[in-house]
Subunit: 330 residues, 4 copies
């Protein structure tokens, strides 16, 4: 059994803590949050003692792995501390909003053979995973054109977004990582954004709709279509077109019921609205991968470098939007 | 060019006359209807002279083929007369409502090597035709279970149905023919009917909803699901399940547009409501087949025997519904 | 917490025991099987002590509910004993292969206000459940025609089927129950069966393919299409057609990936092959319903009378197939 | 009846001539091609006399409308001559490969109230037309993100492409026009191209795969995904996402048959491979629109300005790809 601690007991931390508690190969040792009430609630629910400090967590020999689900600005410090204490780390994306800080973190930990996995949960979705396996099996030959659609049901309040790092760092980063997952190294970024949904988002200098084009080293082109609002639910699709055909991952729905009426036919359910529901099994599979990597000592994936690469792409997208130029990546 | 005359200038006769007029290998020579106004209208539209009698049509040497689209009770007499005059015949289904009268007609014409095709238009639909070809090519091995769905948008007035011969003869007969087309000879019929839509239909002793099960000589079972009312349009589907897989002919729609809203996703158009629209190309392909058979002297299909067999099945369905017993066919 | 014991530690018993062990409101107290090795294995896996006799299970005051997953011929005795001991019962379908024995069981327990639920797991499937709710909400008006498709990936060995009670009791019974679930009381049955897949199944007097038509008291007609072999997986579909439209529950798949190649487009995954996978969540939801009914004292559903009614329909189907007549039910 | 002449008797000219000949409100008066054999063949097939010169066509008072289907480099001269002769014009896209020449043509004809329609056939496709109508009816509110997919089955020989003007002018121009059709004026273009399919195409300085992003004056972003090779057929899709939902025009297929096997389920036909087949009805509808505009004197659409605007966008795409910068349009 792998002993685990969860740092951060907000919405996503609670979900992770529950997954750890239910995992057959892992054991939830403790949880921590600066908000002691939040930590106490989760701990009580799951039958563990909350830790009174990070220090207590990191010195606990029963804790083999640390899951970091606290706010983004705490990630690099916690990664460094956990790696320093010899713990394996599963950290929510992004590593940080700033490429420089993330690089500094890496400088600090690089010599310690860090065992760090970054929580790009979508890589663990059964459909996206099947997509990758079937591409790699050669089913469609060399990928040439990808279209990644990612749309959230509703935008958060502009106030909440003020510290999010902007749409590319907070939202598009998932798709930037997905592009890398499916077609490897990206060498060019063109980004185009707009504020179409909520003027308050524009007022804080952010966008809520964007279209990003990437060129991979392999030659493939990738188009990303993002929106912060989607009335029919959480729209998550990927289409990979190649020399020998196309693979298309369509959306999931609650039921397989279709409706036929005097207004439409074969109408399906609206999509799941909440990312916890849509990626419920992906989060469990992500945890499986982490626990198994800790248990067997095998390579972590996606790792720190993957988290870093996505961050660099998000920054490049921001630069491209600002300058109107194609950003080239080394 | 094959010279053709159309007998009967009602709704379906007009459609056929137009198809003949536009056909590249056929020529519309004349039309006839006891309603001279109807005949005159069609003739004027299509630039031909209406005939003043059946006799005039049948003695016209320019007429090689006669298309019979008059009311059902006139079919056998017209078939006999046309065959007697040496004409090829394309007759709308059914041959007659009475098996005995149809048999008598056959007795009368059998010795003349009659060239008679019966208008089961659905056999000429591109999807149903592909279904048959793919079954015959062995794509799903031996067919085991068929489900044929046939539902009309709206029931005709009960008054109109009074002389229709009842649902099995007027409506289900298409599906009975389709079953024969796809799996060959039928040896057993079980029928179950209900009056669920319009009490006036029940009042004239007819039904408006039915479920019929057939057993083919090949062993395959066939289920037919019929309704006289279908709010989402003209529902025309066939599913053929076999030892090696399934082929399913789904419905056609006006456009390929899907709608995604806060109430549903991937909702498609309602179905075409009118059989002329749904089977527009099938009617043209049926005429092609007839014209080509006349031109080349090749076998007509579906022929008189096919029309007869469907009629026998419709009668058997009626008997089964009345008696509650499985009807066996010789 | 509801204390539960599982009787029968075969494939399905193990699955149920695991579900109980993981249930947040239930506790697995013990398991029993005449095959002590099987019982010991399950018990060890789930961290409980196996019981050494039924008696031990039924006298254990910690056991509030008994889940009967032993062979069909033991069901009635175990139901009676468990009810006699004051336990709530969740019994796998069917109650028995013989209507008379099932009735006798009821006679024996009726006076004790028995708390018995029968394991028609499909009633708990999210799609079929949504179907029922939407029908009841009036979305398609009065149901008129149902088509229930149920096909197993592969037939069991004929030897195994020898004691199964035949296809209607062993297989179609799920669809007979589903028909009752969706449209209520059934008043007529017509059945047609065939031995198309494995001659060995015919040799023991059973069938492997069937088409059954039901008439509900409400007027609705129901068509059931069953096969013991389906190369594309476990085919589970229901279509409910009504005066105001149609609801259609389509199949589930492992992923939402479609393939487009030079041979086909929009090709989806083959279906899940195993009923445990297809109905994984339904089995959990069934257990939820049972546990909740035990905890709150609310009505069990489906109950003994439902199990009985399905059995009576299976028997009627057998009689109809044998006689070629429509069977009427009181 | 509108008298029409077709200039250019290559593949597309023949198709247009046939459509004119079959049109109920138009009459094919004559055809012309510098290749007199080609002109003679078409004329003979359709029962008209070929013209011996453009002059003869333009001075024929029976000719009300001229359909220009000759090579692109002849378009502007023929438009000018036909307008000069007082004829209405339906000219295949593009007007010219060079914006300057097209502008000069406009200078020449502008004062004559020219009646010129440009053959962007896709605007007349039933699905795309429905898309536009439903957008305008407000079904999805304000459009925010469009994805236009356009992929040809196979690339032409590089040699053929040498004089095509390059992918944006020859291929993407359809999508650039479609974007304008659906969301109006375009103010920014970003283009990214690649040579992934045939090195010979790269060798002549052209691309075969591209991703183009547009920003409309309305605020909407448009993504275009093009490829010169698509093994599953001629892929023609449009997705319009808006504040209130999404409309998605999917592909058309030859039949509605699905295949279910041990390798896949619900697999549909490959797509129609040929643009004549895919847009057969659109070409007829385009001609209808032209004939009707000539007959009634109503506004032509798409008109010369539309053809010009698409050309300007194609040029901008080329500039953007070359410079790596976003091109702004006045």
């Amino acid at each position: 059994m792998i002993g685990m601690a969860v740092l951060g007991c907000g919405r996503i931390g609670r979900m992770h803590a529950r997954n750890v508690a239910r995992h057959s190969e892992a054991r939830l040792v403790t949880v921590f949050d600066v908000n002691t009430e939040a930590a106490g609630g989760v701990a009580a629910d799951l039958g563990v003692e909350p830790a009174s400090s990070i220090q207590e967590v990191l010195t606990n020999p029963e804790v083999h792995g640390v899951l970091i689900a606290s706010s983004t600005d705490t990630h690099v410090a916690l990664i460094a501390a956990a790696v320093g204490a010899g713990k394996a780390v599963l950290c929510e994306k992004p590593i940080d909003l700033d490429v420089g800080r993330a690089q500094a973190c890496w400088q600090e930990i690089a010599s310690r053979s860090p065992r760090v996995m970054i929580g790009f949960n979508r890589r663990f979705d059964a459909s996206f995973r099947a997509l990758k396996q079937r591409i790699e099996a050669g089913e469609i030959g060399k990928p040439e054109l990808l279209v990644i659609t990612n749309r959230d049901p509703e935008p958060p309040a502009a106030e909440f977004l003020r510290h999010s790092g902007g749409m590319f760092h907070d939202f598009t980063i998932h798709d930037l990582d997905m592009a890398r997952y499916l077609v490897g190294k990206i060498v060019e970024v063109q980004a185009c954004g707009a504020n179409l949904i909520d003027p308050a988002i524009g007022a804080i200098g952010d966008i809520d709709t964007c279209a990003v084009t990437l060129r991979a080293k392999s030659g493939a082109l990738v188009q990303i279509a993002n929106s912060r609002r989607c009335v029919y639910g959480y729209d998550q699709r990927i289409e990979v077109f190649g020399e020998g055909g196309m693979l298309r991952a369509e959306n999931l729905r609650q039921t397989a019921v279709e409706s036929w009426s005097d207004r439409h036919t074969a109408a399906q359910d609206v999509l799941l609205r909440f990312f916890f529901d849509r990626y419920r099994e992906a989060y469990v599979a992500e945890l499986d991968a982490f626990v198994s990597a800790v248990a067997t000592g095998s390579r972590m994936s996606p790792d720190f470098a993957d988290g870093m690469a996505a961050l660099v792409l998000a920054r490049a997208a921001g630069c491209s939007m600002a300058s109107g130029r194609t950003e080239k990546l080394p």
